[in-house]
């Protein structure tokens, strides 16, 4: 398909989005990521039945935590798409990147010269 998507997006593969935990998302924010999103299978299509549904709840919880500490919750999102939807994958990557660009750099990174350097 050779679809392009923004090079800022770094993909971390997991066997199922159910493997993604709250701490993984928080760690990404803590280490200076401007945004994190989870791309799970379509709801009802999870090979492990409910991995994507469970992780949606974890994502919601992370958003709540971020809101409580004054970080924009929109920096963390969950999307659902099938592995056959390559075009949608690229579209989501662009959508998320645009949203994060609008929000600007993470306030965590702004005050941390080390992660600022790494991110640059």
């Amino acid at each position: 398909m050779r679809l392009n998507y923004p090079s800022e997006v770094k993909v971390i593969q997991v066997p199922c989005t159910g493997r993604v935990d709250i701490i993984h998302l928080l760690n990404a924010v803590e280490k200076g990521a401007d945004g994190v999103y989870v791309a799970g299978c379509l709801e009802g299509e999870c090979h492990y039945l409910t991995g994507n549904i469970k992780t949606r709840k974890k994502v919601e919880y992370v958003k709540k935590i971020l809101g409580e500490i004054g970080i924009e919750p929109e920096r963390v999102e969950m999307y659902n798409l099938s592995s056959a939807q390559g075009a949608r994958f690229a579209e989501i990557a662009r959508e998320m990147t645009a949203k994060i660009r609008e929000l600007g750099p993470s306030p965590v990174r702004m005050n941390d010269p080390v992660s600022e350097k790494k991110a640059a």
């Binding site: 935990d21 709250i22 701490i23 928080l26 760690n27 924010v29 803590e30 935590i65 971020l66 409580e68 500490i69 004054g70 970080i71 306030p107 965590v108 005050n111 941390d112």
Partner: protein
């Protein structure tokens, strides 16, 4: 088990405001089972507080550990090598934990990260309910395994009050009238007359009314 809820991050942030090096201690007992203060939750809290402090440009160094039980000095003593290396310690155990810790390490400052709520169990995944009030004189056998002390808003022992309506308690639409449930169960079992039994007034001295309680088991003392 003892059920607890994590305090708001705002409250915790306020507590630890003056400190720059913190230890968060979890407990592998009840608070692990009710997903509020086990090793997983300790890591989440540490990360959330680190993010918050980085955002404020007021960095904090946080270490984490989770011990077997904070209500037992045998395990509390395992922290003796490290506890002094921190400005303060945040305990994620029930209210017993920070008390045992501060009794054992008198020089250190301890904060509770959770609010201890009740004795109960999980009725479904992620939902816990109160079942016991720890009154010290169990009488649930008189009510077919349902405790009116813990589960009736007024702890009534002689039937429902006027606030019972369609099986619900007047305090909230989510709270069942436990006396309605007790009577329904007695009817179902054909033992409604059990409730006519005259019982002596309950001795509340074994509950909190008698002051702080102590339990001594001679066969175990040294």
């Amino acid at each position: 088990m003892i059920v607890a809820d994590r305090k708001s991050l705002e409250e915790i942030q306020e507590m630890i405001k003056p400190h720059r090096k913190l230890l968060i201690v979890g407990c592998k007992g009840c608070v692990t089972v009710c997903n509020v203060g086990g090793s997983k939750e300790v890591e989440i809290l540490a990360s959330a507080l680190t993010i918050a402090r980085k955002k404020e440009n007021n960095e904090i160094e946080i270490d984490t550990t989770t011990i077997e039980r904070q209500c037992d000095n045998e395990y509390v003593s395992q922290l003796k090598e490290t506890v002094g290396n921190y400005d303060a310690v945040l305990s994620m155990a029930c209210g017993v934990g920070p008390q045992f810790l501060s009794e054992y390490y008198r020089e250190q400052k301890f904060y509770p990260a959770v609010n201890t709520t009740f004795f109960g169990g999980a009725v479904s995944h992620g939902i816990w309910e109160e079942r016991c009030a720890g009154c010290g004189t169990c009488i649930i056998h008189d009510f077919d395994g349902i405790c009116p002390i813990a589960r009736c808003a007024k702890s009534l022992l002689h039937g429902p009050c006027g606030g019972s309506s369609n099986g619900l308690c007047e305090i909230s639409k989510e709270t069942i009238c436990i006396w309605d449930a007790i009577v329904a169960k007695k009817i179902e079992q054909g033992r409604l007359e059990d409730l006519l039994k005259v019982r002596p007034a309950k001795d509340w001295r074994t509950a909190r009314d008698g002051g702080p309680r102590r339990s001594i088991r001679e066969e175990l003392t040294r």
